[in-house]
């Protein structure tokens, strides 16, 4: 079953086309890597799929709901972790989880149970009552991840979840993604780190607002005769009009 279906999705800001007729599908339980250089249009696509931004044209549907017409239904079924940290820094991790759990309609009992589960899972016992603003970046990203998956959504959008996080924490992060994926959650992940791209089931690489390639990491490396994803990326991103030489 396809949980994300995108057909000719386009977004223009004035005369600038940020996303240009993008089409792809993501299957249930898949970890889909969404790659591209800065300004390639990744975040714009995510924001459209999450119902934060209205598309200019084309169609996108998430869990069967049209993102232009049924944005609020889409929102009930997704989790989202923004590129910019956007939890409440003057609340503790537990208070943030409780707030968003409550907004998604969970009751007190479900919230308490899930909180204990996720705190244990992510090793946040020590920090559970500290204000989020006082926590180091790696821990904050964990909390943001916890909040985005707290209400057990069908699809989770992670926009550069590991940006600025140390290698050790990044590993732990991907383990969390794998565990949730095993339980059937679909992940839509953007990243800058090409080693992380190898962890995805399938990846797409976006250049100047359109998707240039879409396949499994293995096949992409073979097709381009490259040893690593990084090489594949260099070849493609080098063709960008916007690339500073």
């Amino acid at each position: 079953m396809k949980v994300i279906e995108v057909h000719n999705l386009t977004k223009t800001f004035g005369s600038f086309t940020a996303v240009d007729h993008v089409s792809f599908e993501v299957a249930e339980g898949e970890i889909f890597g969404f790659l591209g250089a800065n300004g390639a249009g990744k975040t714009t696509v995510i924001r459209m799929l999450c119902g934060l931004l209205a598309p200019t044209s084309g169609k996108g549907s998430v869990v069967g709901y049209d993102v232009s017409k049924k944005a609020e239904d889409v929102k009930k079924n997704i989790g989202y972790m923004s590129q910019k940290f956007s939890l409440y820094e003057d609340l503790s991790p537990v208070e943030n989880m409780e707030l968003f759990g409550g907004i998604y309609g969970m009751n007190r009992k479900q919230i308490n149970k899930k909180t204990e589960e996720i705190i244990k899972d992510l090793g946040l016992t020590k920090e559970r009552r500290s204000l989020v603003g006082s926590l180091p970046l790696g821990i904050r990203q964990k909390v943001a991840f916890a909040v985005s998956t707290f209400h057990s959504p069908k699809v989770v959008f992670l926009d550069e979840p590991t940006a600025g996080v140390d290698p050790m924490s990044r590993r732990i992060f991907w383990e969390m993604i794998y565990r949730a994926s095993d339980r059937g959650t679909t992940f839509f992940v953007t990243t800058h780190y090409m080693d992380e791209a190898e962890y995805c089931n399938r990846i797409s690489i976006m250049v100047d607002g359109s998707i240039k390639v879409l396949d499994t990491p293995e096949r992409l490396k073979n097709n381009f005769g490259a040893g690593t994803m990084d090489e594949v990326f260099q070849i493609l991103a080098g063709k960008s009009k916007n690339q500073v030489q």
């Binding site: 929102k75 939890l87 609340l91 409780e98 907004i103």
Partner: protein, 369 residues
């Protein structure tokens, strides 16, 4: 509806953890009420007076004495002639020149028509007007006194003794404190709410909220209720300080003030939230709010009576919620008006509640264009 409980808890936790905000909520009412009523008075004292006494008689000296003993005027200097006196006004040393003509006493005794000249610096219009009227009254009283002493009670002799209802002593504090209460509640209610949503926009937390299925009206209600409550707390602190410092307490039922404030704050908090939605930065929100606050306050009848405004301005005040609160607070504080007297204003406030909060909900966008 279940989400509201969580939204409220979050908002209150944030308010309680914000020390700066808590300090502002307590300190602003204390400062505004302890200091401003003494400064914001319409009574005019210390008007600088320059005298050109062309007569130097016992009559002219007596008049000068009477003027100076009134307490409203301060003698800056005696000048020999008009030109010298005018220079005092030009250099800003005097506000008023009184010119007593030569032969003042002689003409007075011989019952010749008398003319005295009064020159007024009208840069400060209010000071000039009041100085003029004080001085005229003193001269009139002087005139009467001399007539009485001479045993000539000729002509109609009218003595007006004013009786100021609802403010016997004509204390300006009695008049200003209720007005300042209104400014206080309006400013805090409007400002805190106007800065709130836009602050979430600046930090980015609004995005995490917008990606949830939370309904717009729940979100706005979650913002409205905390600031509405803070406004009522502010009002309470203000009323307490008014009583503590000035011994002022509403003559009427204090619950009428709360009843009105209850709805007034709903309207004004909605207004602040609406501004917050339209603004992109806290700076923008603040500027827009101040723009409206100044208009609202100057057209509220707080400093200048609405009945003395030009026709068009009077019509504009109909759309000013602050005006109604000023009216009500003064009525209840000084006149002791009851619920029936405040109903007409209350109905208007209902209109503001509907319009402002409707716009606040509609202008909150979860999806951008």
């Amino acid at each position: 509806m279940k989400a509201l409980k969580f939204l409220l808890k979050k908002e209150f936790l944030q308010i309680l953890r914000n020390r700066f905000l808590l300090a502002i909520i307590v300190l602003i009412p204390v400062f505004e009420l302890a200091v401003l009523p003494w400064a914001a008075t319409f009574e005019q004292k210390n008007i600088s007076l320059c005298i050109v006494d062309g007569d130097h008689s016992s009559y002219s000296r007596r008049l000068i004495e009477k003027i100076l003993s009134s307490g409203y005027f301060k003698l800056t200097s005696h000048e020999p002639d008009y030109d010298h006196a005018l220079r005092r006004i030009e250099t800003g040393h005097a506000n008023l020149i009184l010119i007593i003509p030569p032969a003042f006493e002689k003409d007075y005794v011989n019952r010749q028509p008398l003319k005295m000249m009064l020159v007024i610096d009208a840069v400060d219009g209010q000071k000039a007007g009041l100085g003029m009227s004080y001085l005229s009254q003193i001269i009139l009283a002087y005139n009467t006194q001399i007539e009485v002493e001479a045993g000539n009670r000729t002509g109609a002799f009218i003595n007006i003794k004013p009786h100021y209802r609802y403010n016997d002593a004509m204390r300006y504090q009695n008049y200003m404190v209720p007005g300042i209460l209104v400014i206080l509640v309006t400013m805090m209610g409007g400002m805190l709410s106007a800065l709130n949503i836009v602050r979430e926009k600046e930090i980015g937390t609004i995005e995490q909220m917008n990606v949830t299925p939370v309904s717009k009206s729940m979100f706005i209600l979650g913002k409205l209720i905390p600031f509405w409550l803070l406004g009522l707390i502010n009002l309470t602190i203000g009323i307490f300080i008014g009583w503590l410092i000035y011994g002022l307490f509403p003559v009427g039922n204090i619950l009428n003030i709360y009843l009105f404030a209850f709805f007034y704050l709903l309207a004004f908090t909605g207004f602040g939230l609406m501004i917050s939605n339209f603004a992109q930065t806290q700076q923008q929100a603040m500027l827009v709010l101040i723009f409206f606050l100044i208009i609202f306050i100057l057209l509220s009848g707080l400093f200048t009576p609405i009945s003395s405004m030009p026709e068009w301005a009077q019509r504009v005040t109909i759309f000013n919620p602050v005006r109604y609160f000023v009216e009500i607070v003064r009525l209840v504080y000084m006149k002791g008006s009851g619920i029936h007297d405040i109903l007409p204003q209350l109905y208007r406030i209902f209109g503001f509640i509907v319009v402002f909060n409707f716009l606040a909900i509609v202008s909150y966008r979860k999806t951008q264009g």
